[in-house]
Subunit: 244 residues, 6 copies
């Protein structure tokens, strides 16, 4: 099967890391195609950044439908930007990495905390936790005093901060699993898990494996109402989508 | 004061109706500027439509900041598309019409129901009700078998359906106020209210009056964290925003 | 229009302060009439105090209907005592200042905390937050080790404590706006806001401006069921209410 | 032990019925004293009625403390009017009959519905259900087209309506127990239960038995903060309360 | 009346203590029969322990129905193991001690915290709080670094830790009552209450008194659906239950 | 990998059907071992049935750990009996089929309804929906007037009833996906889906695919606290578990 991972920001280093990570966890019969849109923000740390990123995300889904023969889509930014709109463009599964990580974490531990980057995304993450139904499972959103791009420029310092925050999550929140709240941390998941000794869930890995499961189940996106196709004058799936 | 109403769709008839409606309720010292973006969907009835509309909405907020000396913004589509992103572009109040209507309705009646257009928006509206905290006040989202544009093309039939649904809301949900769930119904608010005999709240009217209140209170958007300005490389408020 | 502010306690200094404050924010065409009942508690810091204050509040609403030609009512005590009962006595808007402050705060910041006086009111305030639907927006009720009347007798010390608590709300709760949980703090709102740098909402100001908005909208209290008029044998609106 | 039942309305026929009912369920060593205040509404069917009734309720609690050597108090109106204020006047248990009924019903059946009188009390009852924590246990508030006093003037017709509504609760809500939502129905509890075949809980009975249990447990009202005594200038428990 | 207390673990010292405690609070006309199953875990501190204990609990309920003429049952372990299954085996009341304690605590104080033993039971206790509807009343589950059996082997040290935790509950959670989260603490309830000065609720005491109340009310377990008798091939109440 | 499916009831026809179903969806490199315990109830339709089934379920998990080299466990009864206890016996993934189905359904459609067998399981299913966090996603639990074993004895009639109920879920609840609430329906999933035209999720299929995903992710059960191993005196994993 073919899974397309859409990194909604334009930082190619992150896209490359996602490709490598996904390749390492995908099944032999799964091809992963990690892309990032031509234009958009270099990182996504606010609602405005998300808004800038969404048209590019949708264009990539549309291209996937039109010409790439894709079986499932992963939106690889922890805010799941454009998730519901993307679901209208396809009847294949479309998963956000926050969504995927929360589901998996809730099956691995009695409760979890999210450890993420800049404090600014707390409100956004709280809304996702609430919208997806994890208010009881998720004990706390923990932010660290760093920017997303610090994970690329000074990974050692950044990951040390992440690990310290994970330990606080264990001691103070009694978290029994950790969700990494930023796709930029994905490459360090194993190391963090080894250091802290409880399951650490990366959303991209979770989403790739959930996509494989859904494709095997022939389970896609229900088109009966909410995620029905866009109206013809706006978009013709498989032909040529008109995205503003 | 100057209030800018942004109709996120490109149907000029709706924009004109919003201008007229807002003029009729605004205070003498309030100037209302109703606009719609140059490009975007003709109506907004799904998440995809919203996603197409958001860049235009943000561009209008940015223009307001840059050159129009605006005191407050109203997003005149019942899904409040781009609301949180728009708040990052200004320290003035920015209100969505769903948000404004829910607040006002909860102060006017013990409970309310929403009467809106096509069934497809139910899920979207439920999320807004939940996100803004009105799960107990809002008894039900009632959709009618019509499209948004029916309100423009055959208003009599459309409004008759709306009134019938309002009466069901009173009989079945025991609703004590009605929120109109579509900016296209705004012009008919008074007529509907007279017919059914309980308060009928239109979000655009509510938002304009709440903007006046907030401006008088010198109450804008808190910039301390979540809605802080976009990062300089993405946007320079007052200078020239780079929207994808 | 004519707005009647009812201070449910009998401390005239607070009533005078409310009059002055409201005059400073009301529109030129708005007359504000601040009163306090003839009898009742000197301050309201418990459920029992509230119960003592309610009959006087209702008498003032009844008098407003009977002889004062009032367009809207504000109950200026943060427990909103008698709010729902008062709504039965009139078809005009009746707003509590806790209710008004919560609504306004939720439109100004991503989340808020309440800073109020004596610890004893915490439970009461939590119930209001929950009843009005602000459990997710309101991060915490913060009480200070002081009595309501300390705000009148030693305002400098009292306000310093309030400001310290606001700073804790920012640091610990990540509050993006502050709601002042006591009408006695109203006069100091601007000063506190200047000191802490995020929006500070006073309920009396919020309620006055919301009343103006609702009157302009011709939006009153729905009389269809819950807040219908009292039965004739108990009360004859506009004639002479019999309050025990 | 001595339990005082306070009927907050002034209809002596109801008070007599409560005395008789309580005598029939109280233990031999329990003396029940059913009273109604000297003044107040003849029935309680709205928030305004409640507000009129509260001062009389509090006066009866104060008299109980001052001169009647009471061990526990029951507020025998389904809106639990003045419950929290009454708790400040004593360190003995004070139970509302709605509260008592909900607790007992949740231990008798998997879920329950409330069957009560006039539609107007629905909102009030919903708030009690929510405040006390029974949103999941309570399936629905069912009102009947009758007034409280109909239970006294034409009991046969009234009870037939109640039974019909109970049967709807079983068929439509799948209720496994019924809570009678009005003290005026108490005398008919056994008959209704026999007719419908599932547990029917009357709040007055429930409250009397819970009072006996709490007194045996030496469990009263915690005075540490929220329900602490009124301030001395307002009330001197055991001496003479000043109620407005 | 005859109340059977089932201690789900096999530690006879705890069973004896429960018998003694219950005898000291039961009415003169109440006979208490405290038992523990023949086999099962020595203490219950995890879901697995609970699963081991449930068959023995059910066998004791079945024996009570078959040959002991029991009027009500108490499951004396704070996880309420097998509560809903036990309710299928009888039409008498069956109460768990966590359930009983939460109900009583919510009528005694504005809010409460639970103080219990090993950290491992936190998740289990949170679920009970949530399932029974006490999410708003219960401020926090506080665990102490001890094992259940420490209460038997070194009670002084263990109780000192419990009291310290209760004091933290008062200072940090603002708890106005304490629920003891382990049947092993029951014997020390009075001492703890005297030390900390707010109501301390023991679940076994609460359950015994609630059983007496329910039996007096002729209120048992609704058999209409959820807790209906087991199917004949599995169990014949009053004849001989087949428990695996 | 090796996945063990434990059918908690002793009806071999169901176990065989589960084996066949799982084989048809498992990956080529996955071996599925479907078993049912030696003793236990023939079907599980109440809490009592669940209690009877749990020891057998746990014994099968223990055997899996001891001698069968299992990588993940599926509990194939829609009440997820013994799920949390089973997680203590292993550090591998253990999934209930209700849990698995809810997670998958929430990623496939905007909302779903559950269609299950006898009315008696409604309360049990509601608790699972609530405990796992799906109160907003799950619109309704729909029961059909049938017994679990009807699915084996007269499948045509039974499935016709299920399909009729699914159609009601679409029309009345606006469900966009259906979760089959009984393992006995699994074999008919495809047929039902084809008939009704929206995604139909079977929990066993969902759980098998989620297990494969979790094993690939090296994600098991967090042993840090809640699901830590049983105490040595009760159980020695890998050696010989003592189950009552």
């Amino acid at each position: 099967m073919r899974i397309k991972i859409i990194n909604p920001n334009t930082t190619q280093a992150f896209t490359d890391a996602l490709q490598q990570l996904a390749d390492s966890v995908a099944r032999p019969d799964t091809q992963v195609l990690a892309v990032s849109p031509a234009t958009g923000p270099a990182s996504i740390e606010s609602f405005y950044d998300e808004a800038l990123a969404v048209p590019g995300v949708l264009e990539e889904v549309a291209r996937g439908e039109r010409e790439e023969n894709i079986d499932a889509y992963v939106l690889a930014c922890f805010g799941d930007p454009g998730l519901y709109a993307a679901r209208e463009l396809t009847d294949k599964p479309v998963l956000g990495i926050a969504e995927a990580a929360f589901h998996m974490a809730s099956m691995a531990g009695a409760c979890f905390s999210v450890v993420t980057t800049a404090p600014r995304v707390r409100f956004m993450t709280e809304h996702l936790v609430s919208r997806y139904g994890f208010n009881e499972h998720c004990k706390r959103i923990r932010t660290t005093p760093m920017r997303v791009l610090d994970l690329a420029t000074s990974p050692d310092t950044a990951i040390a901060k992440v690990i310290a925050e994970c330990r606080l999550a264990m001691a103070e929140d009694k978290a029994e699993a950790i969700v990494l709240g930023c796709a930029g941390m994905s490459a360090h998941r194993e190391y963090i898990e080894r250091e802290i000794g409880i399951p650490v869930i990366d959303g991209t890995v979770a989403a790739v494996k959930l996509c494989e499961a859904m494709v095997d189940m022939k389970l896609g996106t229900s088109k009966v109402l909410t995620f029905n196709w866009p109206r013809p004058e706006l978009a013709a799936p498989g032909k040529g989508l008109k995205i503003a």
